[in-house]
């Protein structure tokens, strides 16, 4: 059968991998759940965040220093993990932590799985400001592979946008394997175009 991938986020302890601590992870229901990048949106909300909630918790562009978006939260539509909560803080996002975003494959792949960022689901353009406004190297979205090691203190990662992507492992998968990455969003100092932009994170993989 074709290899299947599950996307999981760690909401307990980002020093724990999925294999040994699977209860530390939420398997993302990609049809209903989504990630929220925010400055101050609360963990463990008992309702789905409204536009007002999101706007009130938005990151403010700094006029002197680049600013890292402080939080990534999973909006859990089923709100059935640890109580009736709609938001769960993704632990270790942007930090020197290894087990944050998990990409769990149940079999072999032909090529190395990768993480990409695009304007939308057509996977053709990267014109949005968050993706570097047409210059991938200027993408605000930084990603680092953590499958085999910590990313290091103050990790820089790769600015991902379009055909500039992150390979999630060093080699193709010959058997089932869990791959990991850490991702953060850094807004340049005094950036002139405030916006609420959406972009698409895409996992690309292959099967035989």
């Amino acid at each position: 059968m074709a290899t299947v991938m599950n996307f999981r986020v760690n909401y307990v302890d980002a020093d724990h991998d999925y294999n040994n601590y699977n209860s530390d992870y939420i398997t993302v229901d990609l049809n209903n759940d989504y990630l929220i990048w925010s400055d101050s949106l609360a963990d463990l909300l008992t309702h789905e965040p409204t536009a007002e909630d999101l706007n009130a918790a938005a990151t403010v562009i700094d006029d002197v220093l680049p600013i890292t978006v402080a939080k990534c939260l999973l909006m859990d539509y089923s709100h059935d993990v640890g109580g009736s909560y709609y938001t769960h803080l993704v632990k270790g996002m942007g930090e020197n932590k290894r087990y944050v975003f998990g990409f769990c494959f149940d079999g072999a792949t032909a090529t190395i799985p990768r993480l990409e960022a695009w304007d939308d689901d057509t996977h053709t353009t990267t014109a949005k400001h968050v993706l570097g406004n047409g210059t991938p190297a200027n993408s605000f979205v930084k990603a680092v592979k953590t499958t085999s090691s910590l990313p290091g203190a103050g990790w820089a990662g790769i600015a991902i946008a379009g055909s500039t992507y992150l390979e999630l492992d060093d080699a193709v998968l010959t058997i089932a394997k869990d791959l990991y990455a850490n991702v953060k969003i850094i807004i340049p100092a005094d950036y002139a175009t405030p916006a609420a932009e959406t972009f698409v994170l895409t996992a690309r993989y292959t099967y035989l």
Partner: protein
């Protein structure tokens, strides 16, 4: 309709699956005479007398956005090797467009392929 048919040198055949389960790894390990491969627009690609062959499907899965969670089957790849040249057919499963490249063994794309897939 089967995605491909393998004709072996011993005059037996193997019928492939579909894009969701191409069954490439189920092909018996014996010399191949030719392959007939069905493309999305109904055209057949026929490859004969190559040294070895490779096939895989490329999936994009959005983690957010309008199509989040959908497995978008974007491309299939059919590769045939003769001597040191790899003829790569990159077939768009969205448009049916076929791109053909000729790569050498040293090319990163070829070197990174999972070796279990060669037939």
């Amino acid at each position: 309709m089967n995605l491909y048919v393998i004709f072996f040198k011993d005059n037996t055949n193997f019928y492939g699956g579909d894009y969701k389960n191409p069954k490439w790894l189920e092909i018996p390990d014996k010399p191949i005479k030719s392959i007939s491969y069905l493309t999305p627009l109904g055209r057949w690609i026929q490859l004969r007398d190559y040294d070895k062959y490779y096939h895989f499907i490329e999936v994009a899965m959005d983690l957010n956005g309008k199509k989040k969670g959908q497995k978008i089957l974007e491309y299939s790849y059919l590769i045939a090797k003769k001597d040191n040249i790899y003829k790569v057919h990159k077939v768009s499963l969205q448009t049916g467009k076929i791109e053909i490249q000729h790569l050498k063994e040293e090319d990163k794309f070829i070197k990174q392929l999972n070796p279990i897939g060669w037939r």
